[in-house]
Symmetry: C2
Subunit: 371 residues, 2 copies
Amino acid sequence: MEDGAGKGLECQKIMDGKANDNVNDSDKAIIPSCCLKARASNTELEAKCHATVVSGWFSEPESCSGKASKRVYFNNPMWPGEAHSMKVEKILYKDKSEYQEILVFESSTYGKVLVLDGIVQLTEKDECVYQEMITHLPLCSIQSPKTVLVVGGGDGGVLREISRHNTVERIDICEIDKMVIDVSKKFFPELAIGFEDPRVQLHIGDAVEFLRNVPEGKYDAIIVDSSDPVGPAQELVEKPFFETIARALRPGGVLCNMAESMWLHTHLIQDMISICRETFKGSVHYAWANVPTYPSGVIGFVICSTEGPPVDFMHPINPIEKVEGAFKYRRELKFYNSEIHTAAFALPSFVKREVMLLRDSPTPAQQICVS
Amino acid sequence: MEDGAGKGLECQKIMDGKANDNVNDSDKAIIPSCCLKARASNTELEAKCHATVVSGWFSEPESCSGKASKRVYFNNPMWPGEAHSMKVEKILYKDKSEYQEILVFESSTYGKVLVLDGIVQLTEKDECVYQEMITHLPLCSIQSPKTVLVVGGGDGGVLREISRHNTVERIDICEIDKMVIDVSKKFFPELAIGFEDPRVQLHIGDAVEFLRNVPEGKYDAIIVDSSDPVGPAQELVEKPFFETIARALRPGGVLCNMAESMWLHTHLIQDMISICRETFKGSVHYAWANVPTYPSGVIGFVICSTEGPPVDFMHPINPIEKVEGAFKYRRELKFYNSEIHTAAFALPSFVKREVMLLRDSPTPAQQICVS
């Protein structure tokens, strides 16, 4: 490595199973010369960085717990054959928690980025889409939500969004990995601000276990903000989990669950819709939104209600425009509005064909309107 | 290079300014050893392929006409700091036309891919979104379209979509680069099938020149399917071009124009909306759709009508479900339907803020509905 090669730009081998800096050590990064080349914007023919940061660029590799030495270049099993890459300005943090590898870097155009087990969870530029949609799709669909549970969501962004709803009296959050919360508080204050709301009750632990001990019918809404269903989140797409969710919701209570990409995971979506139709006796729908830094540029949501007062997800009874103070709460809304809410349920023709259970919902074309 | 290293997998230095295979020579590819490594799915630390195919992966580089030796690794000026990569199974074609570099490769999960000047134009998997949206947004918004002009669109996909409309009597297409048409006919028969419609009249040449000679008010609809506004397509986002378009449209005729990403190019969108508002005296709107292989996973459209019978783009007067035979025409519709049409006009809150001219259209949230 050349002396002084890295001035003003930090990059280092990451997630190689050896790195173990803590939050306060993040400035001691090693600077390989390849990063300099990237900075100089020259053609890069010999990339000697680690696979996840090729010449100063981050790319999503395969999920890699325990197999650091055999990691595949790109080719995540959840989205084989493609990768999205971001230019890395500086690696801010990396460590291994009890559950996953955690990486934070400053990108050149998407702001700070949070990565778990090699998979981008959020960027400062586009986190608004996921946080706002997964929260307001359910909470704007019921009148005066009072009790809400978040499963996962350790970055705090969903809490921030729930806090806009002034009818809410109690927000429980059950996150398994405390390190995610600590990292968010340090590097993503605009998200972690959600933890400052006095209505928030934090529970560190396993959500399956937590839900077993919840009184029946306790919640008006449950939001499952989990990572992809590999590793610790596997249980969260299985039937027993949805049954405990349904049990914890009041009659006519609502669930919104992260549900992957319609371009890549129609089989998984079909399975989730199928399980939810069996479990939730109210309505079950699929909605989607465009998130640039997620695979295929899209994220989906399964949204359900339990038997009870009917819930019309597509015509929200509690529109955000009528929630007092919602627009100004700590940070303005960036993506969500009531038009976007309704539009999110419009499904491409191939989705209706491939996910057979969605064919009859929402109903035919002439029944959508905007003006 | 190792002997016999490339059996069963072809990859080669591409777009280096020297390559000059023609369509029939595509099998004579050179196979560098790095591609083999990618195939074996091992961590790739020393990528020795050309910058656009790193270890058997294609990534979008900067637009590179005439500057092959100084190409930037990733970092396209239209979307700096990020890149989408696809695994390359086989390079099928590469050549330089009079106007641009043309590359076709077989990807591992998106089917065949067409690349112009290093920028992905379409993949077999997701071309449906762009072709269907740019065509049916305008054609379903007017009653009985008869005469249609396509600017660009040499792959034929837009022609295929226009052909679904049985009221259409004449389809003119003005494409500047004949090589794109030839390549599409060879490698993308599902798109190029559009050229087989007897209503199609092909004009090879410059669209600005073509439009100058068009009788005033000739067309019911004009679709501008151009590449990004750098290089040959630069003129197509400037005022004089839109004025010739408006002149060529009948009163109440419609234009649909490719209009980039709302995440990356709000300044460009603002400029286009501004020019169109000055030029088109009917309505001017912005719509978007999710395309996984385009930057930020999204593509936008500016859609306008000239002064005359009012056009309500959001409530199509000619819904696709009522166009006889539209669903079955040569290939089923994969993305577009009337729900998607209307939903495409729902704009995220940040877009309304950043593109000031879009604030008042469409009108507020409570006026969208789906059921």
